[in-house]
């Protein structure tokens, strides 16, 4: 049993391992108290817009069987404050450990996406993740992710204005995700991440009202994993760019499942809410799984599906 080589290459960048945090579930100052995130292949900062966003009123989260709904509404301090206050801390924690820094980019319009992306492109980050799949904001977000023409329009507009590798994060709330994936690839996406949350709703039958103040929200957690695995498997066969697979990864074998479906890397989201140190534990479990099952590297795992 030898130590597997966990290194992967995405968009010309080497990651030391394929495990990342998913957007909206990681805070360097808070998550970093529970585990050393410089052990991960990459971390993803929560969605950032050109100007600060308030987000939605509470309640913003609701538990479901095997998952949770959220309607945070992309509350964020804006790209400028992130660059000034958060990013130096993230870089200081990572030091020379090589963990890649991905920033999730949000907007209400093509121009807003471009403005936020340009600010972040000029900062000390490694990759940009274009969030065209948030179900919880009124304009933008999922509106761009459910229409191939709009997905292509925002991708190509941002692509022209940034130099860094551009990941486009896709929503599962579509009839055929490969159509959107192909449109994003044709418009210049360097990689895809999927899936964002599935839209859902919970009703409090005693109050006779939706549990979430926003009415609806996005479903994540282990309940969505089979949906995510299938979508990764389909998209991997439809495009030539790498995929960061996510959706309900709770353990190392879940991560292996996504890699076997064709993802080049994986991201851990809701698991980090259920257990603050989950991303680091899942990396350890994936490493052990590969060693125990004779996978020399991630490529071997990716090619293993019969």
């Amino acid at each position: 049993m030898c130590k597997p080589d966990l290194r992967v290459r995405l968009c010309g960048l080497e990651w030391k391992n394929p495990v990342a945090t998913a957007s909206g579930t990681f805070s360097a100052r808070d998550s970093g108290k529970y585990y050393d995130f410089s052990r991960l292949g990459a971390i993803t900062a929560k969605g950032l817009s050109a100007v600060p966003w308030q987000g939605n009123p509470a309640p913003r989260v609701a538990e479901t069987w095997g998952g949770m709904l959220n309607a945070i509404g992309l509350e964020n301090p804006g790209a400028d404050r992130f660059i000034a206050e958060e990013l130096p801390f993230v870089r200081d924690c990572i030091g020379n450990a090589g963990t890649r820094v991905i920033v999730n980019v949000a907007g209400h319009s093509v121009e807003e996406y471009c403005m936020a992306a340009e600010k972040l492109d000029a900062a000390d980050v490694d990759m940009l993740e274009l969030n065209i799949s948030c179900p919880n904001i009124r304009e933008g977000g999922i509106g761009f992710g459910t229409d191939p023409r709009m997905a292509a329009a925002v991708t190509s507009a941002v692509r022209k204005r940034v130099k860094k590798p551009l990941i486009v994060k896709l929503t599962p709330n579509v009839t055929d995700i490969t159509e959107i994936a192909r449109a994003a690839e044709a418009a210049g996406a360097d990689a895809l991440s999927l899936i964002n949350t599935l839209t859902g709703m919970r009703i409090d039958v005693k109050r006779r009202a939706p549990v979430l103040a926003n009415g609806s929200g996005g479903l994540s957690g282990p309940a969505v994993k089979p949906v995510a695995v299938l979508m990764v498997w389909r998209v991997a066969r439809a495009v030539g760019i790498p995929i960061i697979g996510m959706g309900g990864i709770m353990c190392g074998e879940d991560a292996a499942e996504f890699l076997m479906a064709g993802a080049s890397a994986v991201a851990v989201g809701t698991a980090a809410l259920a257990n603050p140190a989950a991303p680091a534990e899942i990396l350890e479990e994936l490493t052990a799984f590969m060693a125990e099952n004779g996978f020399a590297d991630v490529e071997a795992l990716r090619n293993a599906l019969r």
């Binding site: 050393d36 987000g55 538990e63 998952g67």
Partner: protein, 312 residues
């Protein structure tokens, strides 16, 4: 926080706790005492009053941690008082002594005891609790006695703890007898319940006066805790601490605001992670800053009553 991979140690970790007791103290209200298991030799921080802990249950319906304010704590033992109202709390009620649960470290910003000491002067500190909201006020009562009176406020008999942990985490083994009321400021608890009071005798050990109100008049004053408080004579120099249903806190904030009485409230909100990462538990505050939302789990759960935007 160290840079890079070398020399990093976790500041916070989940630990196992062994349940010592878990009993119904009023209808659907449970009191659970547990002992932190010290397997790795790490010390568990002493919770400050108003702080909460996340309890990690397992299973398909209980993916997310459950936040509970700490009702009492001493020497690695914690007491929670909770209502069995949902899937998680009902599951918690089913745990037996000897079983283990996983818990996180004390979290959030608690009550500012020092502010009360300064502001109240020779006045009166009033703890206003609604239902299980009384729970964190008990630890607060104990700490206020320790802080303002100097020394250990625990009285002999009744309480199950061997020693009191101070706010700095130093454990004291001295059990001085506390003899109310000849202290200043006076400590007064006003506790509101639907029908059946609980924890009242525990409050009486620390408070100069403990008043009970019930919605149905079954015990004590017929009405809410805030109604009862309004009927009492203000002495000047009051300081309010409160925890309870949002409607109660809102009514109290209006009353305190009108009288110019400082008020700290402990808020409850549905949480995702419970440690500051997901922004699930938003509290709207009146602030000139661009973002008016604060995290209940990290910035709170205790806020100044005057800064909370109640009508959202």
């Amino acid at each position: 926080m160290s840079a890079g991979t070398r020399g990093w140690t976790a500041e916070k970790r989940l630990v196992f706790a062994k349940i010592l007791s878990n009993a119904e103290i009023a209808r659907t209200i449970y009191r659970m005492e547990f002992e932190i298991m010290d397997e790795d030799g790490n010390s568990y921080p002493a919770p400050a009053p108003g702080q909460f802990i996340n309890v990690y249950l397992t299973g398909g319906r209980m993916l997310l941690p459950r936040p509970f304010s700490v009702c009492d704590s001493a020497a690695g033992r914690l007491t929670l008082v909770y209502g069995a109202v949902g899937a998680g709390t009902r599951a918690l009620a089913g745990f037996a002594p000897g079983e283990r649960i996983r818990v996180g470290p004390p979290a959030g910003n608690g009550f500012d005891v020092a502010a009360a000491g300064t502001a109240a002067g020779r006045g009166r500190i009033v703890l206003v609790g609604g239902g299980v909201g009384a729970a964190p006020l008990l630890l607060l009562a104990r700490r206020i006695r320790e802080t303002l009176d100097g020394g250990d406020a625990e009285i002999s008999g009744g309480m199950t703890f061997g020693g009191a942990a101070s706010a700095t985490g130093v454990v004291s083994g001295v059990n001085a007898t506390y003899a109310p009321p000849a202290r200043s400021p006076a400590l007064h608890a006003v506790l509101g319940y639907r029908s059946e009071p609980f924890l009242v005798s525990a409050f009486e050990k620390y408070c100069d006066q403990t008043d009970v109100a019930t919605d149905d008049g079954a015990s004590g004053f017929h009405g809410t805790a805030v109604d009862l408080l309004k009927e009492q004579t203000l002495t000047g120099g009051e300081f309010f601490f409160a925890c309870g249903p949002r409607v109660m806190l809102r009514a109290l904030a209006r009353f305190a605001g009108g009288q110019g009485i400082p008020l700290q409230v402990s808020l409850e909100e549905r949480m995702g992670c419970g440690y500051g990462a997901c922004l699930g538990c938003a509290c709207k505050v009146a602030s000139p800053a661009e973002i008016q939302h604060r995290k209940v789990c990290k910035d709170g759960p205790v806020f100044n009553g005057s800064e909370v935007v109640w009508d959202v």
